[in-house]
């Protein structure tokens, strides 16, 4: 806040209200756009997946971080988005699977978000009656119901072990999921996901700084006081669930575009926990924290995959004995959640704030 004077409330409330924020945002955007021409394709795919996960994490952070409604059901809403998109853009002539042949990305992406958002709205009344642990358990139930339905509804999902192709990303005749003359598939997907993350990130940031975002925080901090000052608590819990599920639906649709295939068994509790880990590690109730957390958690497997070469007791498959890299990952998620909750509850975002204040005050310690 040093060295600046806002001369209007509009200026004061702007997202990038300091020169430093404007410069760093510019640097970040330029770096992100330059990356696909520097990095290898497989790393670009991981980064693009992380961008998509970030959209999903922002969604979870809106309902859990901002509105304080603990949800373990995120995987369920991701699934709804993934299947809506896959079915809409699926082959209409297929005898095995439901398909409508609508491959236009804006259409199926919006539809995926809206259908998931609607599902969130249907679940929301539960949140109006339950809180804390009880809500967590009920949303956990959703994941199990979803898993069961998706495994058995073969016309939609293709069944366990078979699955179905993910949505086809096509924008005004431009195909993203195939190698082109100028750009590879990975480069195109990376840039697409980056643009989408920026769009959904800015929209979410707008929401949380508005009266809606404040009302959500009020519901989280003290719901009785919120009600007495005029915030309709039930309505805002519903808004939180609807918006969160919308983001989850969008993320679900895009996530499987990256993988190429939707496997009905993948929408399980572990997926929900991964998203919880993202917002806890990144920073609860911050949008940039959600992005940091998603990057961190998605890039983590890239590091653990290197472990078997370094540590002899870690193996890359379950037949080779010892513990597998997947188990190491699961343990790491747990350790990270515990570690951050105890040592830095504000997550990576909190660490960043601490570094920033340190350098602001440098060379004085306070």
């Amino acid at each position: 806040m040093s060295g600046r004077l806002a001369t209007s409330y509009g200026q004061d409330m702007a997202l990038l209200n300091t020169p430093a924020k404007r410069w760093w945002t510019l640097v970040l955007v330029v770096a992100a756009v330059a990356l696909p021409f520097v990095l290898e394709d497989d790393l670009l795919v991981v980064l693009a997946t992380a961008f998509v996960a970030a959209i999903g994490a922002i969604g979870l952070n809106i309902v859990t971080g901002y509105a304080g409604q603990v949800s373990l059901g995120h995987a369920f809403f991701l699934a709804i988005g993934a299947y809506t998109a896959a079915a809409l853009s699926g082959d209409p002539d297929s005898t095995r699977l439901i398909g409508f042949g609508i491959t236009s990305l804006p259409v199926w992406l919006l539809a995926a978000g809206l259908v998931a958002g609607l599902a969130g709205l249907i679940v929301a009344p539960l949140a109006a009656r339950l809180r804390g642990l009880y809500l967590a358990v009920v949303t956990l139930g959703l994941v199990f119901i979803g898993e069961h339905v998706f495994k058995h509804w073969r016309d939609l999902t293709g069944g366990v072990g078979v699955g179905r192709p993910a949505a086809v990303p096509e924008l005004f005749g431009l195909e993203f999921a195939v190698d082109g003359a100028m750009f590879t598939k990975a480069q195109k997907l990376y840039l697409l996901m980056f643009v989408l993350l920026v769009i959904f990130g800015v929209l979410a940031r707008n929401l949380v700084r508005s009266r809606i975002g404040r009302a959500l925080a009020a519901v989280r901090d003290r719901d009785l006081a919120a009600e007495v000052i005029g915030v309709d608590v039930t309505r805002y819990k519903m808004i939180a669930f609807a918006v969160s599920s919308f983001y989850a639906g969008v993320a679900g649709a895009l996530l499987y575009v990256m993988i190429g295939f939707v496997e009905p068994g993948s929408f399980n509790l572990a997926l929900s926990v991964q998203y919880i880990a993202m917002i806890l590690v990144g920073g609860v109730a911050t949008i940039s924290g959600s992005v940091l957390g998603a990057l961190f958690i998605t890039l983590l497997p890239r590091l653990t995959r290197e472990l078997p070469a370094v540590l002899p007791f870690v193996s890359s498959s379950s037949t080779a004995g010892g513990i597998t890299v997947f188990q190491v990952e699961a343990i790491l998620y747990g350790l990270l959640i515990i570690g951050f909750l105890i040592f830095e509850p504000r997550g990576l975002f909190g660490i960043w704030i601490r570094i920033r204040t340190y350098w602001k005050a440098w060379p004085f310690s306070h």
């Binding site: 209007s8 009020a218 000052i229 005029g230």
Partner: protein, 275 residues
């Protein structure tokens, strides 16, 4: 009904009361919290409710703001019946309150807490919020201007951007008052505004309460234990004990009432005539 039992009949037609609380019965499975409590609040009046601990003072407030639903009686605010309305709907009608134990949103800044007080002023929907530019930005600026006036009025400027959880107790009480004022209420309910405050903080708060009544002309209902403050500030006082009304009247009359002295102040305690 019970309008002005203690006032002589006036010749000019009096303006209708802002609030009339009429014969309210509130029970919690066998425990009677309020029994036959009635009072009215006139325009611009500072009305105080006193009574021993557990007498039902805060229950009156919780009935007023819709947190409790009484079994019998009526509460009329202007042309509206309040009983049966949800708390957020009552807030929208123009009743704002503070709480005995501070109920601020402690993770949010002073500004955000005050902005929340204006939740139903200049509203806009979810889609406008996503877009920000246009309606949302315009309305936020309008609300911010109103909030900054409250910041000036209550001298909160030094703490504007601090999370309220970090502020001293007296300042938090003031922020809570500010959040209620930010709603531009037609009636203000203060639940023990100086509870737990030191002398200096109490004097500050008394000054703000008088300013609110004199400058904004706002009718106020106040629950308070600090007898000195109540005797000095209130226009009329209602004394309750065990959920029943004992006496309503101007401070001096109430303090001299033997029933009130017995119920609340104790036999030995006599209020010295301040004139």
């Amino acid at each position: 009904m019970t309008a002005t039992q203690t006032r002589p009949e006036e010749t000019a037609p009096a303006p209708p009361p802002v609030l009339s609380f009429d014969d309210v019965l509130l029970e919690f499975s066998g425990v009677t919290a309020l029994n036959g409590v009635s009072f009215t609040v006139e325009p611009g009046e500072l009305f105080a409710v006193i009574g021993p601990n557990g007498a039902g003072k805060t229950s009156i407030f919780n009935v007023l703001s819709g947190v409790y639903r009484p079994q019998r009686g009526s509460v009329r605010f202007g042309d509206h019946e309040l009983i049966g309305r949800k708390p957020h709907a009552i807030a929208r009608l123009g009743i704002a309150r503070t709480f005995q134990n501070i109920e601020l949103f402690s993770n949010l800044t002073v500004l955000d807490n005050l902005m929340l007080g204006r939740h139903h002023h200049h509203p806009y929907g979810v889609l406008a919020a996503f877009a920000w530019l246009g309606k949302a930005r315009r309305n936020e600026c309008a609300n911010r201007l109103a909030v900054e006036r409250i910041v000036d009025f209550l001298e909160l400027a030094p703490w504007r951007r601090m999370p309220v959880g970090l502020l001293p107790y007296g300042v938090q009480k003031r922020v809570e008052l500010g959040r209620a004022l930010a709603a531009e209420p037609k009636l203000l309910l203060l639940d023990e505004p100086v509870a737990g405050m030191n002398l200096e903080e109490t004097e500050d708060m008394a000054r703000f309460i008088l300013d609110i009544r004199d400058e904004l002309g706002l009718p106020i209902v106040m629950v308070e234990h600090d007898m000195g403050l109540v005797m000095d500030l209130a226009d009329r006082i209602l004394v309750v004990d065990f959920g029943r009304p004992i006496r309503t009247g101007p401070p001096r009359e109430v303090a001299a009432d033997p029933d009130v002295v017995r119920a609340y102040l104790g036999e030995q305690h006599r209020i010295v005539d301040r004139s």
